[in-house]
Every structure is written in C-alpha cells, then in structure tokens.
C-alpha cells in the first residue's frame, strides 16, 4: 500500500510539472537505486514490478502489454491521447504475483509423529502418510477440508491461504497454470478486497489521473464531487477538506452527501410503498459492489433491491445541470464506485481517496493547516452519515413516516458467510429493511481509504454533528 501511495505521489508530481513523458521512466530507478539492495530477488525484478504498477497508474491493464520493450514514456504518451476508458477497474501485476503457493494445508516440523495419528485416521481422502516419522500430505489427493488441522493435538498443521483468493467473497480471482492470479470480470464485483489483501501489492486499480490532468491543462473546469466518507480521511474538518480541492485546482466542489439526501427521500418513499403493497423487505442499493453482487451472484435477491439511485448519481445529475460543459470527477473510497462512475451518464472520471491524498502531498498542501472554507449549502447530517455503516438506515428512518414499522438489518461487510445469509433472505428475512455495505464499517472501510476506520468514524461523526437534521432542510 505504501509503495502504491509513493508511486501515485511521484506520478502526480510529474503531472503537475507536465513532465510525465520525460520523467516516468526514471521512477523505477529512483525508487530502487542499484546500491540500496532489493526487496525481491534483485533490483531488476523490483524495478520491473514498479514499471508495471506505473502502467496501471497510467490507466492500462497489465495484460494490454504487447511488447515488453515498450517504455513507460510510450504508455504515458498514448495515455495522453487516449479518449476511451473501460469499465475494467482492477488489474493484476503478473510480475509482482505468483509468489503464493496454491491454498493448502502443510505439516510443520512441530509434528511429533504421534502414535494415535489423528490426522491420518481422520483424513477422508487418505491423503496423509507418515514418512520418516512425520506426517506428510499428498497434495494430489488432499481436498483442503482441514480435518487434519482440527484434530492435530500439537497444532503442527497450518493452513496456507492465497490472501487474494481468501479475501475475494465471490471467487473471482484464481491462479492460472502459470501460478499467476487473474480476475474473472464476469464474477468480479470490484470490491477491491483482493487489492487490500495481497501483501505483494499485485492488484492495482487503473487510474484516471492522466485524463484529469489533461483536461485541466486544456483549460476545462474541474468539478469535484466528494463521497461522504471523505470527512474522516484527514485530520481536518469538512471546510478544510472542501477548501483543499480549490487549492488543487478544482473549480467547484460538491458534497455527495447532498445527493445522499435525495437518495434518502426517494428510498424512504420507496420503502413505504413496497411495504404497504405487501413486500416482505427491501434492501438498499447505494453500494455498487453489493448491487453487482446481486446482479452476478444472487439473482433471486434482485426483486428486493431498491430502485433508488445512489447518492453519486443524484449529485452528478445536479452538478451536470449546473456545469454542462465541465469535467465531473467523483472522489471515491473504492474501486466499485469507479466502476459505477464509468456507467453513470454524468460522471467523467474518478479520483480515489488515495489519489487525492497523494495529489495534496505532491502539491505540498497540508490539509490540516488550511483555512476552513465557509460552506454555503450544508447537506444534512444524515446525508453525511452515509459514509459509515448504519448511516443509510438512520437516514431512511428519519424520513419514513412514524407509522411505518421498520425492522432494520445491517449487513456490515460482505464475505462468504454474509453472501449465504443474503441468499436466504428471499425465503425468510428477519427484517423489512436491509442495509448492505460491502466493506466493514461502510465506505470509511473502503479499500482506497487513507485513515484508520476507527479514527475516520470519529471525524465523520463530527462532520455529521456540524450539519442540520434532514427533517429540518428542504430536499
């Protein structure tokens, strides 16, 4: 993560100086000078990994490479002329991957070769033999059931996961014959959990930085639309955060919490209508990783998902109306939102929280030391609260009529167990309003966040407290 952030900062610095093409080939050399030792096998491998990570930051899939000799400067030039984006958001840096063994159980040298041999006795596939007095697993017959680990009295058997595969809730990332992971985009919900989990930083999010800077250079006006979770990202109040976008060169800034107010109003009305017409429950729809999960993996839940659009959608509608010819940039906590922005009719580009932070560092802006800008139009407290899990529920409850009996359920983070739970809801749902957040803690737990979610939640609460209640403002 830290290497990725350093890389983003270096790329933004070159973009600010308008020297991307001249400077980018030097980044791998500057970060891994010949005499400073290497992290991987040698300095050349380190540099190759950095090169491919930079390729992702230029907005390319690593698999787009045709000729290994193509230098980064060529990619930078082509990126500068690029007019089309794609909705493939995540890319695997194959050079950085392939270090993990297939998920397996391994016998460690803690094995005492005991007489009872519970591992061998309990193995349903007879995959354990004893060689030289120690248990040994035959991986051609082992089915990774984990029985041996459970029964070993010496805890001599360990589970060796592949972190990205373990983290992916939908089985979208897997190894090819060459040992390298690849993402099946027909299954992927763009949650980015693989990116967070990989200790080699081998999964990268493709960036729109080149496009954003090109538009700025061409004199276009930039409009930032900041997701509610941004309130927790730096040790700075919302006024300072909004001001920082002006310092970075954005012309207008919108809090997407305003769009969240529209979502709340429509979602509360939709919930009322559905429940009154006999529907057993409704789920939220503001997390795009969740809606992709339903589309791709839980078809039976589709009829229960709210049709109300996300806060970003409504904010972009308002911003596009106010700025028909300007460039709309959504400032985002996760790759799923980048995917959503691509499909949104009004949003042009996405800037992740990490990229925003790196941009400030590259521009020498200390957000905590900035003056706090006056906010002329506050969103509601509930709208700002969308940044953390429980926020949508609170907002909808605030606007729903008191006669409507809401029994809420929160799915706070999607994993395989949560998916099983969601799959059971069409048959029997213990509540009538289900809030689903793919990341634990909500968007403040997204994989692009900068701040520790616990710290972020505290600050988000302060931003919430500074805003008026949704019942007191006109939405």
């Amino acid at each position: 993560m830290l290497i990725r952030r350093e890389l983003i900062t270096r790329v933004v610095r070159l973009l600010i100086e308008n020297r991307l093409e001249e400077g980018i080939n030097r980044i791998p050399l500057e970060m891994r000078p010949r005499k400073n030792g290497s992290v991987r096998c040698c300095v050349h491998k380190d540099r190759a990994v950095i090169k491919y990570k930079l390729m992702a930051l230029l907005g390319y899939n690593i698999s787009d490479e045709v000729d290994e000799l193509t230098p980064l400067s060529d990619y930078a030039r082509m990126a500068n002329q690029r007019t089309e984006l794609t909705d493939t958001v995540l890319t695997v840096v194959d050079e950085a991957c392939s270090s993990c063994r297939k998920t397996s159980y391994q016998v460690t040298n803690m094995c005492r070769g005991c007489v009872a041999r519970p591992c061998m006795v309990n193995c349903p596939k007879d995959a354990i033999k004893f060689v030289d007095g120690q248990a040994s697993i035959d991986h051609t017959t082992c089915v990774n059931c984990g029985q041996c680990l459970k029964v070993c009295p010496f805890h001599a058997i360990v589970y060796m996961p592949v972190p990205c595969e373990e983290a992916c809730p939908v089985g979208a990332i897997s190894k090819g014959d060459d040992g390298v992971e690849s993402i099946d985009i027909t299954k992927c919900i763009n949650c980015g959990k693989c990116m967070t989990a990989c200790p080699f930083g081998a999964v990268m999010e493709k960036s729109h930085l080149v496009e954003i800077f090109r538009n700025k250079r061409e004199g276009k006006k930039l409009v930032a639309m900041v997701a509610p979770a941004i309130a927790g990202q730096f040790n700075a109040d919302m006024g300072k955060i909004l001001h920082s976008f002006k310092e970075l060169g954005f012309d207008y800034v919108y809090e997407v919490a305003e769009g969240a107010d529209i979502t709340t109003k429509l979602e509360a009305a939709e919930l009322q209508e559905r429940l009154e017409s006999g529907a057993p429950f409704m789920t939220t729809s503001c997390c795009p990783a969740y809606t992709q999960l339903v589309d791709k993996h839980i078809e039976q839940l589709k009829p229960y998902v709210s049709h109300t659009h996300t806060p970003m959608y409504y904010s972009a509608q308002v911003a596009r109306h106010n700025h028909p010819n300007d460039v709309l940039v959504f400032v985002s906590p996760c790759p799923a939102k980048r995917w959503e922005s691509f499909h949104d009719p009004n949003v042009d580009y996405t800037l992740s929280f990490e990229e925003y932070g790196a941009w400030m560092v590259a521009a020498g802006i200390d957000v905590s030391a900035l003056r706090s800008t006056d906010i002329d139009k506050f969103p509601s407290a509930e709208g700002r609260g969308f940044g953390a899990s429980g926020g949508v529920t609170q907002a909808v409850k605030a606007l729903a009529p008191s006669t409507l009996k809401i029994t809420d359920i929160q799915i706070n983070g999607i994993d395989k167990a949560a998916i099983r739970q969601l799959k059971s809801f069409p048959k029997s749902c213990p509540g009538n309003f289900v809030e689903v957040m793919t990341c634990e803690g909500g968007c403040i737990g997204g994989c692009n966040v900068i701040s520790n979610p616990k710290v972020a939640l505290r600050q988000l609460k302060q931003a919430v407290e500074a805003a008026p209640s949704i019942v007191s403002i006109e939405v």
Partner: protein
C-alpha cells in the same frame, strides 16, 4: 511530587496521514495501563520532518522532542518505555 509527563506529538500532516499516520491518533487509548497518566499525547500539523530525507520515512512523531520515523502505535509505546528508563 508530580512526575513530568512524557510529551508525544503525533504528526497529522497530509504526508504522514497518507503513509499510515492516522493510526497514531489511537495512541492514547492504546497505551498499556502502566503508561496511562504518564504520557501526554497531542496531534500536530506537519512537523516538517518530511521535508528532510535524513529524518527517515513518514509517519513521524516526537517523544520529548526526539524524532521517531516510521512511527506506529507499537513502536511509540516501545520508545516511550525507553524514554522512561532513560
């Protein structure tokens, strides 16, 4: 007599935050019981260590004015103990 408290300043400048420094805001509540009451933790805008490579890598903090690079909660706790021992 009142013992002088150990003063810890954690940087909440943009670079330190970007490099994982937000976690340091949790230092006060992560202090082990024997250190509570002996340490005064404050946040600070950029401490200006980040502009001089010789200081090491962010995130930064200071303990009684001594610069700690690549600070984490556990490193700061260890350094506070060292400071107490002298």
């Amino acid at each position: 007599m009142d013992e002088k408290k150990i003063e810890v300043l954690v940087c909440s400048g943009t670079l330190c935050y970007l490099m994982g420094g937000s976690e340091l805001q949790l230092l006060s509540e992560c202090l082990p019981p024997d250190l509570r009451g002996k340490v005064d933790v404050k946040g600070s805008p950029c401490l200006d260590f980040c502009n001089h490579p010789k200081n090491g890598r962010p995130p930064f903090a200071t303990i009684n004015g001594r610069c700690i690079a690549q600070a984490s909660v556990s490193l700061l706790i260890a350094e506070i103990r060292k400071e107490i021992k002298g």
